[in-house]
């Protein structure tokens, strides 16, 4: 793919917002790849964690938002534990989820969830699931 790199693209306001939400400084990442190497769910991600960081560094927010990576992350914090630069990709992905949810797209209503499922789902899942309703 060909991208046009500009100051505006690098300083994409949405990415700056992501930095604020996640509390992570994207520039700190020096692309060693240790997060992708250690992540237990890299195999299922469309864009591996280290590439997520790179895409965000060069302003490719749209590609990151479209990818399934943020939803695949289970928040095990392996990436953060391993990162030599103390960057938490998990935090960044959580930030992405937040930003995505705040857009209010594909918001679900409780009534749309089938009752048998609601009844059988573990309580943890319901609590987590509620973020989808309130974020």
């Amino acid at each position: 793919m060909k991208i046009k790199l500009t100051k505006g693209a690098i300083e994409n306001p949405l990415i700056r917002q992501l930095e604020r939400v996640s509390g992570e400084e994207l520039k700190r990442c020096y692309q060693c790849g240790k997060c992708s190497a250690g992540c237990p769910v890299t195999f299922a991600m469309e864009i591996p964690p280290s590439q997520i960081m790179r895409f965000l560094q060069i302003g490719m927010m749209d590609d990151v938002m479209k990818a399934n990576s943020m939803w695949v992350c289970v928040g095990c914090l392996q990436c953060y534990a391993r990162c030599p630069q103390s960057v938490s990709v998990a935090n960044v992905l959580e930030g992405l989820r937040q930003l995505h949810l705040r857009k209010g797209e594909d918001r679900e209503q409780i009534k749309d969830v089938p009752f048998p499922f609601l009844k059988n789902a573990p309580q943890q899942a319901i609590v987590c699931g509620f973020r989808k309703f309130v974020s």
Binding site: M1, I3, K4, K7, I10, Y30, Q31, F55, I58, M60
Partner: protein, 657 residues
């Protein structure tokens, strides 16, 4: 009959694993002339050496053999020990039964290794029987040094030698000392201003009474050898009397002609009578003769009219002076590869594509823009700058295969300087790897990225072209796997560092080696980093390869220490392994003179009583001869022998096999 002692070393298990050292000793003891033989665990240990000394005394040995590791390792050790026991050190020989025997045999029955060790030691015995006692050579030392090149490495070397109380001659090709460092704006990783840390040293050179400074001068010829070099220096005509010039600068002001300034990397013009930069040392202008109408066509002469002390002489000519020195330090530095070679970067075609050194001048407060970053085409402040690393470096096809070492760091520095001077600007850096090995270097690069907003992109640039007053840079970011296009206002190339034009000529004059890039070769890359194969000639700085300021300064000091240690005694002792000419059989064909790589063989004459030359013959200069033996092989009449390795000795060894 000689009284030979043989000591077979086990070297722990290094030798003993595949060689039955006890058996070797026993076999040797049976041979005629051998009066003592033993084996021992570590001959090089203190007890081992003591045993050797004691055996020499107890058995009145006059020749000894240590069958052990390569003579490169411990020949000196055992010769010293023998000398301490009263033997001539050259009556001690080493048989290599480790590198050339035990290490290459895997036969655990020890049969092959033992047999070979016996053979090798027996050969050495026969060789040793023909050994003659040799005496070390004493060479007188002239305690004065010559430093070639007045950049930071040469300045440091000269200052250190002067500090050590010895006289130094500093020769510089340009009208001022300072070298490439004088061009730099600020220096990584501490960001101190280059001029501010360099000029005090330059002034120190000028004021130091031990240092004789010859600027605008070049080495013409070098003769002699360690401790006794005779150097001819060409002092190019400055057309200004250095003694009388007060450095008022009136002549420069009045000169009506301008040409491109090399010091400013063609970003500005200078007068035809000029000093390269305001803090030049010495502060004496020179006339650029090929561009001066007065000298070429006898028109103008304004400078001579306004000169108060009347020190301008248009008739001045080059002078050759001769100096005797004991040591030479070569610090000729580097230059940059011509960027035009890379069409894809558009240098020379696109005005706003500049080299790293040009950026240094733009960022320098004494530069053509007074330190403001303004692009060459229209003088505008660039809102975005693309830095391209490895422009020529690590490029086997079009450039050089090596890494120029300093570019990663100075590019990081450039992005910082740019961000400090143009707060709203965006810098991009295309790199292949970031090589920031050095004290506080990696942290420096991280600072450029994290605090000074440099956007680092991993990949090379493939195309640079102009469009609507912008420079379009097409590169890649391999980390994200994208092709990247940037509309930049200016592009800076981190040009490869190459050896000086004419570096090979200088090396040939000095008799030192250089590699295929014409960088000078050190004697040993790790253990003799500032020595050359020619004794008494030392190296420092970027003439040996790309080098940053801290390394150049360290090497300048290292070379100075080498020169000072040479000067610490009146005479120096040298190994007597030199060639010797047998006068009766030399027929003066001069094949040896041609063959000698050190120019150690002279054409000597034999005169009769009336002083008439009756014969010519070759004569070896012991001071220069390195004992390589090339002349021995070249001599048709077998008139040359190498002391310590005579034909007689070598044949005796072969016959014993």
């Amino acid at each position: 009959m000689p009284r030979i002692g043989i000591f077979v070393c086990q070297c722990g298990n290094n030798i003993a694993a595949t060689v039955d050292t006890k058996k070797v000793a026993e076999e040797m003891a049976r041979l005629p002339g051998v009066v003592f033989a033993c084996d021992y665990k570590f001959m090089c240990s203190s007890p081992g050496q003591d045993m050797l000394k004691q055996a020499i005394k107890d058995n009145r040995l006059d020749k000894v053999i240590v069958s052990a590791c390569s003579p490169h390792m411990h020949e000196k050790t055992f010769r010293k020990a023998s000398e301490a026991a009263g033997l001539n050190p050259y009556q001690c020989e080493i048989t290599n039964i480790r590198e050339q025997c035990s290490w290459v045999h895997h036969d655990k029955t020890k049969a092959a290794g033992t047999a070979k060790s016996i053979d090798l030691t027996r050969m050495t015995i026969e060789r040793l029987k023909k050994n003659k006692p040799l005496k070390k050579i004493n060479i007188p030392i002239k305690k004065k040094a010559l430093v070639i090149g007045g950049g930071i490495a040469g300045i440091q070397a000269a200052l250190d030698i002067a500090e050590g109380g010895r006289e130094v001659i500093l020769v510089e090709r340009e009208p001022s000392i300072g070298g490439n460092m004088a061009r730099l704006s600020e220096t990584f990783p501490t960001m101190d201003c280059s001029q501010c840390i360099l000029t005090p040293k330059m002034v120190e050179v000028e004021l130091n009474e031990k240092i004789t400074l010859y600027t605008y001068s070049e080495i013409e010829k070098v003769d002699g050898y360690i401790g006794n070099f005779i150097v001819q220096i060409r002092r190019k005509a400055k057309y200004v009397d250095e003694e009388r010039c007060t450095g008022c600068g009136e002549c420069i002001e009045k000169c009506p002609f301008k040409v491109e300034s090399q010091f400013e990397m063609k970003l500005a013009k200078r007068k035809v009578i000029y000093t390269p930069f305001p803090q030049s040392v010495p502060n004496v202008p020179v006339i650029d003769a090929p561009n001066c109408p007065k000298i070429q066509k006898d028109k103008c002469g304004a400078c001579a009219v306004v000169c108060g002390p009347k020190c301008i002489d248009f008739k001045m000519e080059d002078r050759i002076i001769t100096e005797d020195v004991g040591a030479i330090i070569v610090a000729t530095g580097y230059e940059l590869m011509p960027n035009e070679r890379f069409g894809e970067y558009g240098y020379g075609r696109i005005k706003d594509v500049i080299s790293g050194m040009q950026f240094e001048r733009l960022a320098s407060s004494s530069g053509p823009t007074g330190g403001e970053i303004r692009r060459p085409s229209d003088g505008k402040t660039p809102a975005s700058v693309v830095f391209i690393q490895c422009a020529g470096s690590r490029d086997e096809k079009k450039g050089v295969s090596y890494c120029s070492k300093v570019c990663c760091m100075y590019t990081a520095k450039h992005t910082m300087l740019y961000h400090h001077k143009v707060h709203e600007g965006q810098s991009y850096v295309f790199y292949m790897d970031i090589r920031a090995g050095g004290k506080r270097y990696e942290e420096f690069v991280r600072r450029a990225i994290e605090h000074d907003n440099a956007m680092y992109l991993r990949g090379r640039v493939s195309r640079v072209y102009e469009k609507d007053g912008k420079v379009i840079v097409q590169g890649a970011d391999t980390l994200s796997g994208n092709q990247v296009e940037i509309e930049a206002d200016m592009v800076v190339l981190a040009t490869a560092i190459v050896s000086r034009t004419g570096a090979d000529t200088v090396a040939q004059k000095l008799g030192i080696g250089y590699d295929k890039y014409k960088f000078y070769n050190e004697y040993h890359p790790k253990l003799k980093p500032v020595e050359t194969v020619t004794a008494g000639i030392f190296l420092s700085g970027a003439c040996m390869g790309p080098m940053d300021i801290p390394d150049s300064v360290a090497q300048g000091s290292a070379a100075a220490a080498k020169a000072l240690s040479l000067f610490s005694s009146d005479e120096m002792m040298r190994e007597p392994i030199t060639a010797v000419v047998n006068k009766p059989t030399c027929n003066a064909c001069w094949d040896c003179v041609t063959a000698c790589p050190y120019s150690a063989i002279e054409r000597d004459t034999v005169k009769n009583r009336d002083g008439v030359v009756v014969r010519w013959l070759a004569k070896v200069n012991d001071g220069v001869c390195q004992g390589c033996g090339v002349c021995v092989a070249a001599c048709r009449s077998k008139a040359i022998d190498l002391k310590g390795y005579t034909d007689e000795q070598v044949y005796a060894a072969i016959n014993a096999f």
